[in-house]
């Protein structure tokens, strides 16, 4: 690895490989959702084997926004109501909530802030397919939820000294946080998140979405485009903006690849904000 960095990259990689694994049922579910041959029945069968996951799913399917007049009683009904992409997102969110709900000092995030941002991003990713004219793979929702997970690993290595250098790069040289990390540490939090997702044996597209959530052109995959846009929309939601006025400018190349017109963005934002208000309870956000 690059020898000219302030952090020990090998130690970072080792730390990613020391993470506790995700529950086997979540990993199997992720792999099944990624496979084109998997049916709804296959997914339901996998979930039914895990009592905790079954309970999470039924709770999610019966939460305020998902509920209809008839409550969902079986796993199969829950999978049919939510769809496999949301089922996977729920399972992964449930497995990682403990981690994502912690403070992340290296990024100035108080307890609960990363969790809420993750859920807002996941919900934004759920809304994007209604506006995009390309097919959005089911892994995109999960990639959006996990996109900042690398911050949890990065923060462990950010000493006061390193934080000082990062601040000087951002304030003095006007670099983004991502570029500051890249220039000074030779690695950024997206890449560390990708390592964590690989360690958890999550599907390749989820890894790609996480790694490239700030640089979707390099990701060369629609999952990276959706994750990138979901992150921006989530920030809008968290800032309490209702979407009518945009305070961000997404990459035109991403919008073009997703088949989204810039004038559709305010409506998309509003829909995501509304959905977040309704659905965040599903994830206990």
């Amino acid at each position: 690895m690059n020898e000219n960095t302030l952090v020990d990259l090998d130690a970072m990689i080792a730390k990613a490989n020391e993470l506790a694994p995700l529950p086997a049922s979540t990993v199997r579910l992720a792999q099944a959702v990624s496979s084109a041959e998997t049916t709804l029945e296959d997914v339901a069968e996998l979930i039914a084997l895990d009592q905790a996951l079954t309970a999470t799913l039924l709770r999610g399917a019966n939460s305020v926004a998902s509920a209809s007049a008839t409550p969902v009683r079986s796993v199969k009904e829950a999978v049919m109501r939510l769809g496999t992409a949301r089922v996977l997102a729920l399972a992964v969110a449930s497995s990682t909530r403990g981690m994502l709900n912690t403070p992340v000092t290296g990024y100035g995030l108080r307890q609960g802030e990363l969790w809420r941002h993750s859920i807002a991003s996941g919900i934004a990713a759920e809304v994007i397919p209604s506006y995009a004219s390309v097919g959005v793979p089911p892994e995109a929702f999960t990639a959006a939820i996990l996109h900042d997970i690398g911050k949890l690993l990065m923060t462990k290595f950010l000493s006061e000294e390193i934080m000082g250098f990062l601040r000087r790069a951002e304030e003095g040289d006007h670099l983004t946080r991502l570029d500051s990390e890249r220039v000074l540490l030779s690695v950024h939090h997206g890449e560390l998140g990708g390592l964590m997702a690989q360690h958890w044996r999550l599907p390749e597209r989820i890894v790609t979405g996480i790694i490239y959530h700030h640089e979707p052109d390099a990701g060369n995959d629609v999952t990276a485009d959706v994750t990138y846009l979901a992150n921006l929309v989530a920030k809008q939601i968290e800032a309490g903006l209702d979407g009518r006025q945009l305070d961000f400018q997404p990459s035109p190349a991403v919008l073009e690849r997703l088949g989204l017109r810039p004038d559709e963005l305010p409506t998309l934002n509003q829909a995501a904000a509304k959905r977040y208000a309704q659905v965040s309870a599903r994830y206990n956000a």
Binding site: E3, L9, I13, S186, E191, A218
Partner: protein
């Protein structure tokens, strides 16, 4: 780091490598030198610069220049140039060189090897016949340390995650502990050599392809002109030069003409002899 030390380091690095470090980059210089000072067992940046100033240790001077070079690299970096190489440039060159069965490639800022190995994978995947040709593939870099890494063909998981499709990882790399090692068969076709672009160049064969991507950006205009002039004399008629996305020959050397293929601008000789 005080202003005098910063000015000294900038001047020293510029003399040795032509890399321009502008005011505002103090944080970068400090972070790199602090890392180096710790690595060589010196207590501070001031001690490190003191040793460089007294010129007692040429190896240390070399390490300072190495520390200031940016070795950011990835497989299939920016994607589009390699698509153009695969779809347009290589088929044309290979057709033209069919008779001689000879192909000459130079990567001028090879870093830890991702770019030359990307080209080797493209050859192996799409033009395997070229592997039986007289392939002269030279990959150079300023840094001896980074060249040693390139020759080893070893990459961390982080590095293979940068741009390398999983199918090619599985096909051309083998897992060695926590690292991945690039195919020895393809790796040994690349001849890694040390080369400082502003000093004397070793004798190199006329090149069909030159990759000099994301290196001119670190130089001033006069240095860029001088390097491009030398590249022009090295390039074979019909050969192609690839620069980085933020680089051009425009207003620097009118002996080149830009050729736009799909989403990539590359450069060929305006008046091939």
């Amino acid at each position: 780091m005080n202003a005098a030390d910063f000015t000294y380091v900038c001047g020293f690095v510029r003399d040795e490598s032509a890399i321009v470090l502008e005011p505002g980059k103090e944080y970068l210089v400090e972070s790199r030198l602090l890392t180096l000072a710790r690595k060589v067992g010196l207590p501070s940046i001031e001690d490190l610069i003191g040793q460089v100033r007294t010129a007692k240790d040429p190896a240390l001077k070399r390490k300072v220049v190495d520390a200031m070079t940016t070795n950011e690299s990835s497989f299939f970096r920016d994607i589009h140039p390699f698509e153009t190489l695969k779809k347009h440039i290589l088929p044309e060159i290979i057709a033209r060189r069919q008779k001689e069965r000879e192909l000459s490639i130079w990567c001028g800022a090879a870093s830890s090897g991702q770019e030359p190995f990307t080209i080797m994978m493209i050859l192996a995947e799409y033009f395997p016949q070229v592997l039986d040709w007289n392939l002269k593939f030279i990959a150079t870099d300023l840094s001896t340390e980074i060249l040693a890494r390139a020759r080893s063909g070893r990459f961390s998981q982080l590095e293979v995650n940068r741009g390398l499709p999983a199918t090619l990882l599985v096909k051309h790399f083998t897992r060695q502990g926590t690292e991945w090692e690039f195919s020895e068969k393809l790796r040994r076709r690349v001849n890694f050599q040390e080369l400082n672009l502003i000093k004397d160049w070793p004798v190199m064969p006329p090149a069909d392809l030159v990759f000099l991507r994301n290196v001119l950006i670190y130089f001033d205009v006069e240095t860029k002109k001088a390097i491009l002039g030398r590249v022009r004399r090295l390039l074979r008629p019909g050969g192609t030069l690839f620069l980085g996305g933020a680089e051009t020959t425009l207003n620097l050397d009118d002996g080149f003409v830009a050729v736009v293929k799909d989403r990539t601008s590359c450069y060929q000789l305006r008046f091939p002899q």
